[in-house]
């Protein structure tokens, strides 16, 4: 099987960058989980 055409290549690059952008949002989500733990600890368990 030969390689993809230019259109396929561009789509794959676009998808890859979109996935990486999604990881930035997921990092915020993970930090939010940490923040929830810290807030719970501070408010209710000190």
């Amino acid at each position: 099987m030969s390689g993809p055409d230019l259109r396929t290549f561009r789509r794959e690059i676009r998808d890859a960058v979109r996935y990486e952008r999604g990881l930035a949002v997921k990092a915020l989500l993970a930090l939010a989980v940490v923040a929830v733990v810290v807030v719970l600890r501070t408010l209710y368990f000190t």
Binding site: M1, S2, G3, P4, D5, L6, F9, E12, I13, A16, V17, Y19, E20, R21, L23, A24, K26, A27, L28, L29, A30, L31, V33, V34, V37, V38, L40, R41, Y44, F45
Partner: protein
């Protein structure tokens, strides 16, 4: 009239008090330094969030250089046939792909399988035989390198392992980075592919999500890659020639040395997270121990060899510069390399504080574990989100990565009121229980070693997994790292302990 001057005895008492207080604070800092490796890992994970801006995709193009695939093999009959068949299914122009199997004097059916595959794929699969072998992977690779560099057909070289199964699109997603002439090498995301696998391969699967899918994205953002994966590293011909046309054979970390030397010569190394390959990883602690001891000893050798490199940023803004001497990269490297040292120092400082000033020991213990809790929650939740398929397969091992005991410390530090009886320990003296808790960071490595020792026995099959879940897979890796210090200090012989492969890899889906 001013206040009366204190007497000499009072001054000495005050000075002694200050010294004791300063000593306490130094000990508290040493305790909290136990969390430095996790903080360094968290910083690396935070960098992943920047990968959507600092990536190499803008410089990619659909290029298909003539690629030679080099597979070193010693007694790999169980896996090599399937691996070659998968390589023949790569989405890559067939006339630009050649596979060279370097048979390192195998004594099993590997030569017969290789000959059969060469006949099945004429002009695409080549069998190279070393009559005298056993010198290790680097020597075997050099035998093949000499052949592929002898003519000018090869434009790029993919080094892989006999058990590695490539997804169809993986090679072309790697070669697209070679459109940028600044790139010297590209590495892929190696995933643990044993199916059904066991608890240990699932731990490894999650570990690879953190160490590759996450950490290497962070290193992409930083512009400095620590290591090309041994099972999937693509080099340009120019890079190989610049490296002298051969792989370093003087250490157990030939992949890391190749990676560092590539970057020192001003070429970029890129991690392509969307090029996925699958490998069979050790299913027993004994086999894992051999593999990781080799890797860890290699890291000791690399740390020593490049001692003039660490924390000395220079030249990365100039053409041909590199970022290996940067502060962040040094912190990542030494965070992992010195993790056992941090753990032992932290335990020792805690126990000293316990006997010197119990309340401060308790405070330091809390701060240490609250930091550990925050980094654990962040790293685990983010790693699972970075690679959802691995999360579905290994989420239990991700949760249990630090071990049940450490998780108990984390839970107690975060939510002490949930443990009312234990919470009373803040005010009472529990003696040996507290000492054991304070020493746990060190003891966990010893307990992990015990899991390795017990494994071959009849009871070990049950006890060893229980111990790993109890003390943590992370502690097992730290015990390997500690053992590597000892081996290197004793200048133990460097032997190439091959990981046995049985052909259990299945590409999910």
């Amino acid at each position: 009239m001013g206040p009366a001057r204190p007497g000499r005895g009072q001054r000495l008492t005050a000075m002694g008090h200050h010294l004791l207080t300063a000593g306490d604070w130094i000990l508290i800092l040493l305790v909290i330094a136990g969390a430095l490796p996790e903080l360094a890992a968290s910083w690396q994970f935070l960098l992943v969030a920047g990968h959507f801006r600092r990536h190499h995709y803008r410089d990619c193009a659909p290029v298909f250089p003539r690629t030679a695939i080099l597979i070193p093999a010693w007694n790999e009959a169980a896996v090599i046939g399937a691996s070659i068949d998968r390589l023949m299914l790569l989405e890559y122009p067939p006339d630009s792909l050649r596979v060279f199997l370097v048979d390192d004097a195998s004594t099993d059916e590997t030569p017969a399988v290789a000959t059969a595959k060469a006949a099945q794929y004429p002009g695409q699969v080549f069998h190279l035989r070393r009559e005298v072998g056993g010198e290790g992977k680097a020597h075997t690779l050099n035998h093949g390198l000499a052949v592929v560099l002898a003519d000018d057909w090869m434009e790029a070289l993919l080094i892989t392992d006999a058990d590695v199964i490539f997804e169809a699109a993986s090679l072309r997603t790697m070669t697209r980075h070679l459109a940028d002439p600044r790139v010297g090498a590209v590495t892929a995301y190696i995933k643990e592919g044993s199916r059904p696998g066991n608890y240990l391969t699932r731990f490894i699967g999650y570990e690879y999500a953190t160490a590759q899918a996450a950490a290497r994205r962070g290193q992409n953002v930083l512009g400095a890659i620590a290591c090309l994966a041994g099972g999937a590293q693509l080099h340009t011909r120019a890079n190989l020639v610049a490296l002298g046309g051969r792989i370093d054979t003087s250490s157990l970390a030939e992949d890391t040395i190749t990676t560092i030397e590539t970057q020192l010569r001003g070429r970029r190394v890129v991690f392509e997270p969307h090029a996925t390959v699958w490998a069979e990883e050790p299913g027993s602690i004994g086999a894992l121990w051999k593999q990781r001891l080799r890797w860890a000893r290699g890291n000791v050798q690399v740390t020593r060899r490049y001692r003039s490199l660490w924390f000395r940023p220079r030249g990365f803004r100039q053409p041909g510069g590199h970022r290996l001497g940067g502060f962040s990269f040094g912190v990542f490297w030494f965070g992992l390399f010195l993790q056992p040292v941090f753990m032992i120092t932290s335990s020792a400082a805690l126990i000293t504080l316990y006997y010197a000033h119990f309340p401060r020991a308790w405070l330091a213990f809390h701060v240490l574990w609250i930091i550990n809790a925050a980094t654990y929650v962040f790293i685990t939740s983010y790693a699972l989100m970075i690679d959802p398929p691995t999360a579905r397969h290994s989420w239990r091992q991700a949760v249990m990565f630090p071990g049940a005991v450490n998780l108990a410390f984390i839970a107690y530090s975060c939510f002490p009121r949930l443990f009312r009886h234990a919470a009373q320990a803040e005010h009472i003296h529990l003696g040996w229980g507290i000492v054991l808790a304070y020493a746990w960071l060190s003891l966990s490595m010893a307990a992990a070693y015990l899991a390795k020792v017990l494994e071959p026995g009849r009871l070990g099959r049950i006890l060893s997994p229980v111990l790993v879940y109890l003390v943590g897979y992370g502690s097992l890796l730290c015990a390997c790292t500690f053992a590597s210090y000892v081996k290197e200090l004793r200048r133990a012989e460097m032997t190439w302990d091959k990981t046995e492969k049985t052909g259990k890899v299945v590409i999910p889906g």
